[in-house]
Structures are given as C-alpha cells and as structure tokens.
Point group: C2
Chain length 331, copies 2
DNA sequence: AAGAAAAGCGAAAGCGGTTTCGCAAATCAC
DNA sequence: GTGATTTGCGAAACCGCTTTCGCTTTTCTT
C-alpha cells in the first residue's frame, strides 16, 4: 500500500511555502491570506497528506486520548456506558485508554500516574451506579474529570448519572395511573444509594396521592433470587397486593415467577414494573419486550459524558439522565 | 498537585550522566554498566520521573494505541468483546481508539486513513459473529490486524472467533447424553454462517449416533418471536419431540414459552438448550441461571485478541475460542 | 606485552509537527 | 506623503525522548 510518508514539509515544498506557513494554513491559526491558505489546502489534498497525529500530540502536549477508569469493566451496566463513550469519543478523534481498576488506593494511584504520563486530555470515571459515594479523583488530575454513573464524595465534582428519584417517581406514577393502590416495593441493600433514592421517589408520589406502601419496602440484594424471596414474603403479608415495583429487572424477574406460581395473573392481578430495561439494552431487539420497566438512560449518560468532557468550561455539579418508561406486558 | 515537569534530562543531570545514557539505562537498551543503570533508576525514582508517553511514542513512531473497528458497537455481543479487549489492553498500556463504522466502503476508508495517521500499533476488527464473511482489511494497514468474532473473505487473515461447529456438537452431545432422541433445531437465517455451522456441528453428532433431526431444521431469525413461531410449527409437526436445540438463547426463550403453553414440561417432556449464555454474560450473576446454554466464549475471544495482537509474529489463520456448556434447568 | 575486540558512555541528529518572533510589504491615518 | 499599523510570511526554537555513531577505556587473545 502507498507509503504514508507525506509530511508537512513535503506539502510546504510542493506548495512553495515555508513549513510554518503550511502548518498555519492547515490549522487556520495565525494570519494567512485566504489565497495561500486555499493553495496549501489543495496541495495537501492532492498529496493525500494527513497530519501525523503523534507528532502533533507531542508538539501540542495533548494526546487526543481520554482516560477511563472503571471499577469492573465486566459489569454489564458499566459496559454499556463504556461502549457508548468509546464510540462517541471515537467520532471525535479521541482514543480511550481504559484502566480497569480494583479501585483500591494503590491501584488508583498507579493508574493516575500512568494516565498523567500519557498526557490524557480528560478522565472519565465509570462507576456501577449503586452503593456508596466514591472518593473524588478530580484533584488528582489537571485535566477535566467526569464521573459517570456514580456519585462522588465531593459535590463540586462533575457527575452525570441516573436520576434515581425520577425513576422511582416514574414507576409509581405509572402504577397509580393504572389504577393500582396496594403497591409494594422490593429492592436492594438498604445502604445502596440507588435503591434508597428510587424508593424515595416512588414514595413521594404515593404520598402525594394520599397513599403509602402496602407493606414496608423490602430491602435485599440486586438479584433474581432476592426477588423470589421477597415476593413470597409480600404475597403472604399482603395477599391482595395489586402492584409490585422492583428496584431492578432482575428482582422483577424473580418476583414474577413467584407471583405466577401463586396462581395470580400478571398484570391482571398484580402489575409488575422493574428498572434497567435490560431486555432491550442487553439484547438489542432480539428478545421480545416482556417486562414493563424503566430505562435509566445508560446510553444517554455515555453520550453526555463524551460531549461534555470536551467542553471548554465544565460546570461542576450533578447532571441527571432522563429515565424513560418502557411499557410492555407486566404493567 | 505536584507539577509533572520532571524530564529525562532532569534525571540525567541529577544522576550526573548524559541524556542518552539515562535513556538507555531506563530502557535497558544498549550497553550500560549495571552500576550506572541502577544509579539512574534510583535517581529517576527519587525524582518521581515518568516517561512522557507522548514524546516517547513520537520518537518511536509507535503510538501505544490499538485501533478498533466495529460494525455496531451497540450490539451486545460486540460490546462484550470490546470491553474485554479494552480492559486487557489497558493492562498493557495500550489505549483503544474505537471507530464505530457503518462499514460501508467510504466510512471504512476514512477510518483507515485516520487510524494510519495516528500510527496505531495494531487493528482489531470486531464483527457481529454472524452473517457473511466480511471484506478483509489486513492489507490496508502495515500493522497487525486481527479479526474478532467475525470471519473475513481472506483465509490468510488472522481471525479469532467462536467455534460454531463445536458449539453445535456440544449441544447435540449433551442432549443425546440426556437420553433425547427426537431432536429438532431452530435457528436463524439460512445464509447466516454461525447458524449454518452450529446446525452442521450438531447434525454431525446426531449422524454419528445414527440419528437425524426429527424434522428439518427451521431457519428464521435471531429473535425470540421466531422461537415462538418455529416452536409452534415443530410441536405440530413432531408432537413427541423430546429436545429442541435453539441457535440462540433468544430463540430458546420464545420456544420455551410455547412449549410450556402447550402443556409440556421443560425439561421433563422437552429439553431445551440455547447458545450465548447471556443470562450470565449480560447480567453478571444478577439473574438466576435458568436456560441451559452454551457459552461461545466472547470474553475469551477478547482476551486472546488482546494477547495475540502484541505478539511479534502473528500466525495467519482462524483460531477458535472453546465453547462451554452451561447447564441449568432446561436440559 | 601488543594488538584486537568489547564495553561504557556522550554528542548530536532526528521524529514531525507547533509556535514565537521578527521582518518586509501593504494598508491605514491625517 | 510620511509615519504608524496591520498583514502575510519565514526562520528557528522547541516539545522530550530514542538511537546512531564515534570515541575512549577496559578486557580479551595469543
């Protein structure tokens, strides 16, 4: 294949201008007459010139690379964000350098040093969307840092994440709109932030309608097995329950099995709504929509992060993705 | 935070050696006495020196970046491979530059030019694991190219992908071992390579046992709806069918619903086995294993690709990931 | 012990751009 | 028409590291 040997000085020579003029003409920097600029451009095109991105990065001291720190890249939710971010950044000529860290202090420190050595242009920290606030890394870089799908300990950080309260509201509103009144909620660990805030949001809406949970929220784990367990309890405690809001689709999946096994119909007797929309997210139209759920907006988070990271002035604070209700068979 | 201004020449000065000596000492290249080498190392450590990766890449003409071309990064299977690859490469100090191409000729050409301009060290083409052989891109780069989860038109390319024939064999073997004899197969489009080869592999095993499909293979689409449709047909055509091998978990999901609706028990009356293992892959332990399936080894593909790409001599040919049987409730 | 080979190190030339600075020519002000 | 600006361009420094080459010193060979 044709050797990619055309250098800027080749272009300059061919165009009969100096190296610096050629550089400025192509970059549109400094003062260059329109005629010269155009002439250089045409010459460069004719020769098939492309800037050597390495030389350019070096000269400018900026790498066109974004560092990404993940906690566990194998987490399917992180993966969605990661893939979206990588694709969006690729479209902007930005590479992604991923460090899949255990996120202990030593690991982080090493990753930070390596990222700094690569003169990355920005950092994205992808969390798991749940659990505790994570330590802030913003001050350890002199480039912009955005936290995605996680909340940090420092409110002055830039964060883009799911709007768990809105998710809870959306779920409750939908169930109420469907005429449900004896509503219960099954979710994950009580200390999990996402679980808390989803419960909060839903509760808020119930309260506004003069209602409360038909039985106290069952906190457990983000797992299908917990959905089965909790649903079993709930059916015993509130036999006439008419709706269950589950903190995740996995929990809902377990709950549904138990509800059906009890002889109740879904959604006729008991409406069921989850959170995550993994049927779509993970399966890309291959599986039929079955569970009514709420899409937390992972892909939107990825897009927002990629867009905002390259903005000149990054405003601190938390920005939320807008959740979407996805109606299917169960509510 | 401390300014990362320590340059190699600072180290050289502090160590009382020349710039070139310092470079060689730290890189272990050229002939340097052990004493000097150690002294330079210690000095560098003391100063907290890190190579400027940009300068280094530039000087070496290699970018420490791997270009990745995907067809649709939103495909959940591609995403698994992508995330694995990115994590593995990150551990080797390699960044990933992702171009999510529409894969039409113009788009590809542009991506190729951009990747070349970035002096990437290698290329990974991630396919969708199915459908036709894709055009070979190997000759358009002078760096190594590996095709992942796809097959190209040129057999001399380096390819790492799923072993669809073995997948088929594994499924059939498992069903036979379970005592099943009236086995049918539902799968995707007849021109889909993965579908073909899975069917082939299974058929091979049946033939060796003196059997054939209980009814001709139903080719359709990779979708749950097709699983329902095809299963309905099959139950009518072969009422005493005792096992269904589905080309994907999505198809199996549809088939299972129909089988149960017909009053048959799974797996007592009809065993069901799928392919993909998405219950685990996409949900990371959150959902309970239900469907017996075959893991095609996406993560292994990602690891193999990342490992082999950096090998000095890349042997052409196709390497297959080893599929794993994942036994759960349905077979 | 003398010559040959090897070891250890430094000077300097890149790598391919960007960017500062200065100078000449063109334009402006009055 | 003269001086003050502005415009357009080129020379050259520089980004920080790698690598070639050559020189001096040490070690080996016989």
């Amino acid at each position: 294949m044709a050797d990619q040997l055309i250098t800027l000085s080749d272009v300059a020579t061919a165009a009969g201008v100096s190296l610096s003029t050629a550089s400025k003409a192509l970059n549109g920097t400094d003062r260059i007459s329109a005629a010269t600029r155009e002439h250089v451009r045409v010459t460069a095109d004719r020769l098939g010139f492309r800037h050597n991105a390495l030389a350019r990065s070096f000269a400018r001291g900026r790498s066109q690379t974004i560092g990404v720190l993940t906690h566990r890249a194998s987490n399917p939710f992180s993966r969605v964000v990661l893939a979206t971010v990588a694709a969006e950044l690729g479209a902007k000529e930005q590479a992604v350098l991923l460090y899949d860290a255990r996120m202990d202090e030593q690991d982080i420190t090493e990753s930070v040093l390596q990222l700094r050595a690569r003169r990355i242009d920005g950092v994205i920290v992808i969390g798991t969307g749940t659990s505790f606030p994570t330590p802030s890394l913003t001050d350890r870089f002199e480039v912009p840092v955005i936290n995605a799908f996680t909340v940090t300990e420092d409110p002055a950080d830039v964060t883009i994440t799911a709007d768990d309260v809105a998710i809870g509201r959306l779920a409750a509103t939908h169930l109420l709109a469907g005429g449900r009144r004896r509503i219960v909620h099954l979710t994950a660990e009580p200390h999990d932030l996402a679980a808390q805030r989803r419960a909060e949001g839903a509760r808020e809406v119930l309260a506004a309608a003069g209602l409360d949970w038909a039985t106290p929220v069952r906190f457990g784990r983000w797992r299908e097995e917990w959905g089965e367990e909790a649903a079993t309890e709930v059916l015993a405690a509130v036999p006439d329950v008419d709706a269950i809001f589950c903190g995740s689709d996995a929990i809902a999946r377990g709950a549904e099995r138990v509800i059906r096994a009890s002889g109740r119909r879904v959604p006729d007797d008991v409406a069921l709504i989850g959170v995550d929309n993994w049927e779509q997210l993970m399966h890309d139209q291959r599986v039929r929509r079955h569970l009514t759920t709420i899409d937390v907006g992972l892909e939107e988070i990825g897009r927002l992060v990629a867009d905002r990271l390259l903005e000149p002035d990054l405003e601190p604070g938390i920005q939320y993705a807008v959740p979407q209700l996805v109606i299917a068979d169960t509510a």
